[in-house]
């Protein structure tokens, strides 16, 4: 069975309020389609023959098909064969989840390339089972997917999918943080869980620091943007090491310690910090705030009332991603992309 690569490109992400309160930008539909085309070309170069893609109505698919059609008119075989999943389109995040499930169940999808922000990656990670993800950032406020030229991500995904790189090298395990209310089915975050005083989801994004109360991060990287940056500037924790970090935050005006953190693109704010501690995997943390909203990876998704119990727990090795850097280093060392057409003539 020839391995396929899945592509989930979310057309509806990255339109949040941070475009107004800061100077965040997003990647437009046409550009998202161009990213898909670049990744497809890279996959073809690695020998991937077939790609399945999530259908959507935002215009990405149509633009991609037109791109393939044009290329076909000009030269042959720049792109792999492209099929769309047969699924009902709702125009919501449910499409992403559905596509991830279908790709996981298909059995022949070796890698899923994901275009989107933290939210899209979170949705895929929750439903993709053991299929590794190769993430391409298109969102506003992304801490999880790396910023990298999609052609390289496509090459790494292709090499990994074709089995040219040993899984131990190609795929890295990632942590998640699970949140459940009253013992219900957990929601996950890939980077951070923030507890804020708002008791409504509202415009989802977080930008008013005075509402921040607690923060749980799977990794704390001073190089990333968003809530995780707060933790990263206090005590860095890498993606690969065990455990995360839990912080109790406070209004900046009264806090004993403050950190100037890039909480959104173009928005560097003073955040008060009361205390912090390592967050070992499996340990359940209970927020001290009795009611409020829970932001997953920077967006308010849930709210809870005083009578509800909230449990926050870090999970090690929750899902896998393609380690693009490791794959490309391996490929270079092993000469995977080298070709010696005159080898037979060598003396």
């Amino acid at each position: 069975m020839t391995p396929k690569v899945g592509i989930i490109a979310n057309p509806i992400s990255a339109r949040d309020i941070r475009r107004v309160v800061a100077s965040a930008n997003g990647v437009q539909i046409a550009d998202r389609a161009n990213i898909v085309l670049r990744a497809l070309a890279a996959l073809a170069a690695c020998g991937v023959a077939e790609v399945v893609m999530m259908p959507e109505r935002g215009g990405i698919g149509g633009h991609v098909l037109r791109g393939i059609e044009r290329a076909r008119g000009q030269s042959a075989a720049r792109f792999p064969r492209l099929n769309f999943l047969d699924m009902k389109i709702t125009g919501t995040v449910e499409d992403t989840r559905c596509a991830a499930r279908m790709m996981a169940l298909a059995g022949d999808v070796a890698v899923i390339i994901v275009l989107g922000g933290d939210g899209t990656h979170r949705a895929v990670a929750g439903d993709c089972g053991t299929v590794p993800i190769a993430g391409i950032s298109t969102g506003t406020n992304n801490a999880f997917p790396e910023h990298r030229e999609p052609t390289i991500t496509g090459l790494a995904a292709g090499l990994a999918a074709m089995g040219l790189v040993p899984p131990a090298v190609a795929f890295a395990a990632n942590k998640t943080i699970e949140v459940s209310i009253d013992g219900g089915a957990p929601e996950i975050a890939l980077v951070d869980v923030a507890i804020v005083t708002d008791r409504f989801v509202g415009a989802r994004a977080l930008w008013r620091t005075e509402t921040f109360r607690e923060l749980y991060v799977a990794f704390a990287d001073p190089e990333v943007i968003g809530m995780a940056a707060i933790a990263g500037l206090v005590e860095p924790v890498t993606r690969r090491e065990a455990g995360g970090l839990a912080l109790i935050l406070a209004p900046a005006a009264t806090a004993a310690m403050r950190v100037r953190a890039p909480i959104a693109p173009g928005l560097v704010e003073m955040v008060g910090i009361q205390s912090w501690a390592r967050m070992p995997a499996g340990t359940v943390f209970t927020p001290a705030l009795s009611a409020g909203a829970i932001a997953l990876d920077g967006e308010r998704e849930l709210f809870f009332d005083p009578h509800q119990d909230v449990a926050v727990r870090l999970v090690d090795r929750a899902f896998h991603t393609v380690d693009v850097a490791a794959v490309m280093q391996f490929a270079a060392r092993q000469g995977l992309l080298l070709d010696r057409p005159l080898e037979g003539a060598r003396p």
């Binding site: 339109r15 309020i17 475009r19 309160v21 539909i29 509202g202 415009a203 009611a291 009332d305």
Partner: protein, 327 residues
């Protein structure tokens, strides 16, 4: 309860609810009365979309101007136009907001900054650029909001206006009320790229998409956008994803909608239910307070309908007046 976690004080929460409830009851009642055959002409109902009007208009005063759509009742009510005058207008009475000369599609009250519902889709966008230009010349801090649907977003006027607002840095907010249907045609069919934010980006305008059934989502996003525009930050776009409970106009059998779509939305995506649920479960507003507003609004709408039905019709003389200020 003193601990109010919402971005509005309690009295404003109640006011917002009252606005939404008034719109809902006004529209539900029109649906019933229209079916009786008492109401002439075309009527386009806003029921289901209340959170958008209320969430945005909560940030505005009479100095701010709005240009509405053919589906304008909600905007009118939220902008403070008198409900009795509106109802009388829809009945075509001399006591109507437009003395019976405009009808449902043309209710306006410039003293409230309501520049009119508009039967021409996309026509409000250039007008609101003018309103914003006037505000800029006057320096009164006013902003202009133009509402248009996913269908009218394809009008050249809207796109031209985005460009004009951008180059003149006008305090204009383009609000896309995306209820998924341009009359009977799906947004997926009629709009090449289903991202109004992308269109705004093409003119260098920031754009935000929010859940239009969530009052707080609209309120927060609109608040930031309006504040930015008021302070000279320039135009922006706000897309509200909404639900239209009724058809395009009254009498529309809605055969183009999915089976059960309206029922599902009424049950799960009713912005009034969502709002009331939030504020009561947070303990800020009591169920009794909600119920009281419901009763008061019901009485108000009863009274408005009663008065409208009993109001005098325009006289033949009115046919010829109000064409010009002087001719």
């Amino acid at each position: 309860m003193t601990n109010n976690p919402f971005p509005l004080p309690k009295d404003e929460l109640l006011a917002a609810y009252r606005t939404m409830r008034t719109i809902r009851d006004f529209e539900e009642r029109l649906h019933v009365e229209f079916a009786k055959g008492d109401i002439p002409g075309f009527v386009h109902l806003y029921a289901g979309e209340e959170a958008c009007a209320a969430g945005i208009m909560s940030h505005l005063t009479d100095v701010d101007r709005i240009a509405s759509t053919h589906r304008g009742h909600g905007h009118c009510i939220a902008k403070g136009v008198d409900v009795h005058a509106m109802m009388a207008e829809i009945y075509g009475k001399a006591t109507g907001a437009c003395r019976g000369k405009g009808g449902s599609m043309h209710i306006a009250d410039l003293s409230k900054g309501m520049m009119g519902a508009n039967g021409i889709l996309g026509a409000g966008a250039p007008l609101i650029c003018g309103a914003a230009l006037a505000a800029k010349f006057r320096g009164d801090g006013g902003v202009g909001i133009t509402f248009f649907g996913d269908g009218a977003s394809n009008q050249g006027t809207v796109l031209e206006s985005m460009n004009l607002a951008a180059i003149w840095n006008l305090p204009v907010i383009f609000v896309v009320e995306n209820n998924g249907y341009a009359e009977s045609t799906s947004v997926d069919y009629a709009t090449a790229v289903d991202s109004y934010v992308d269109r705004a980006s093409g003119f260098g305008l920031p754009g935000v998409t929010v859940d239009g059934t969530d009052f707080f989502a609209v309120y927060e996003a609109a608040g930031e956008i309006i504040k930015r525009a008021r302070e000279g930050g320039g135009p922006a776009l706000l897309e509200c994803k909404m639900i239209r409970f009724f058809g395009h106009f009254e009498g529309d059998a809605q055969a183009y909608k999915a089976k059960g779509e309206n029922d599902y939305n009424r049950t799960n995506r009713d912005c009034l239910k969502i709002f009331a649920g939030r504020v009561t479960s947070a303990g800020v507003v009591s169920a009794a307070e909600i119920a009281l507003i419901d009763r008061e609004v019901a009485a108000l709408i009863d009274e408005a309908v009663g008065q409208a039905k009993g109001a005098p019709l325009p006289s033949a003389r009115d046919l010829l007046t109000d064409v010009y200020v002087a001719y």
